[in-house]
């Protein structure tokens, strides 16, 4: 299992990736991350929510209350144009990072 320290700097990318498929809310996003990473990266709730808060301040996402007909209403997050641009930059950055780290790590252990 990977800790949030290892992936620090990519939590926003991971969440934006989920939001690229459409607006979504807290639990569904964390469940998607858990499933897509096959349980290797269970994102902590505090990490998730602090990333939402940061990205909203930076203008990468917007939020709104859902219109569930019963009970309390969830907050949905939606990626903005700026968020999409940032996501693209992070994808490119990751490819470069991966190439560099690959050169300095051995796979024959």
């Amino acid at each position: 299992m990977l800790g949030s320290d290892t992936l620090r700097g990519y939590n926003d990318t991971i969440i934006l990736h989920v939001l690229m498929d459409g607006d979504n809310y807290g639990y569904a996003i964390s469940a998607r991350i858990d499933a897509d990473s096959k349980g290797v990266y269970p994102i902590k709730e505090t990490t998730l929510y602090s990333t939402f808060a940061r990205m909203e301040k930076k203008g990468f996402v917007t939020s709104y209350y859902g219109d569930e007909s019963f009970g309390r209403r969830r907050i949905y997050y939606s990626i903005t144009g700026e968020g999409k641009k940032y996501y693209k930059d992070k994808c490119i950055e990751w490819q470069q990072t991966k190439e560099v780290i690959d050169k300095f790590t051995r796979k024959d252990f």
Binding site: Y25, E45, A53, K57, I75
Partner: protein
Amino acid sequence: METIKNYVEALFSSIPASEEANRLKEDMLLNLEEKYNALLSTGKSEAEAVGIVIMGIGTAEDLKAALNDEKLGKSRVKVSFKGVNVEDGDDKVHVGWDGVHVESNGDGTYTVSENEDGTFSYHQENGSKFPFAAILWPLCIIAFLIMGFAFHLWHYAWLVFAAAVIVTILYSSVAEGYRKKDLFGAVEGCVWTMVVAGYLYVGFKYSFWHPGWIIFPIVGLMDGIAHSVYGYCKSRTEKEEK
């Protein structure tokens, strides 16, 4: 579910309350409830589900940092002839000729003063100061003009200003003494004010200016003695308390 709720409440209690923090907390609770129910539906026991949910929450550090981002961005330092001004979110510190003022989380202004033993203490100013001078002086001018024009008492009317000066000294020394919790200082201020008032009174009324001035060195000497006696008694009681 109650355990999870209490855990989240405890987690958020270490974060400064704000509308944003509250919004996130409510939404987090709602989503944790969904996660909890999802775990129950996969056949987990209530205790297991509570354990898994709580294990997955994480620490408050991330949240604190994310919620403070905006405030931290407002930090600034300004240096001018008036002194040094530091602003960090809601906290403000001013160091200038008129002393040190600390304003924290908007809950009032603190004035920091240096104690005789080199330590620092501060007191909180509640509400605004009574604008004594702002009211007193216009009143004096009005009184002076009325006495002069209406009753032709120009000759005595100027005494209004002398009285105002005395009252101002009295007020400020008492207020200062009260503010610093310095009873001696307050009494000292009263005594000196009364001495000046008394000297002026006997001077004008009985022309007792000449030997009258002797009151000042006498009271000065007494004040000096009282000061040292008071200081001695105070240090003794403080030693006893220790």
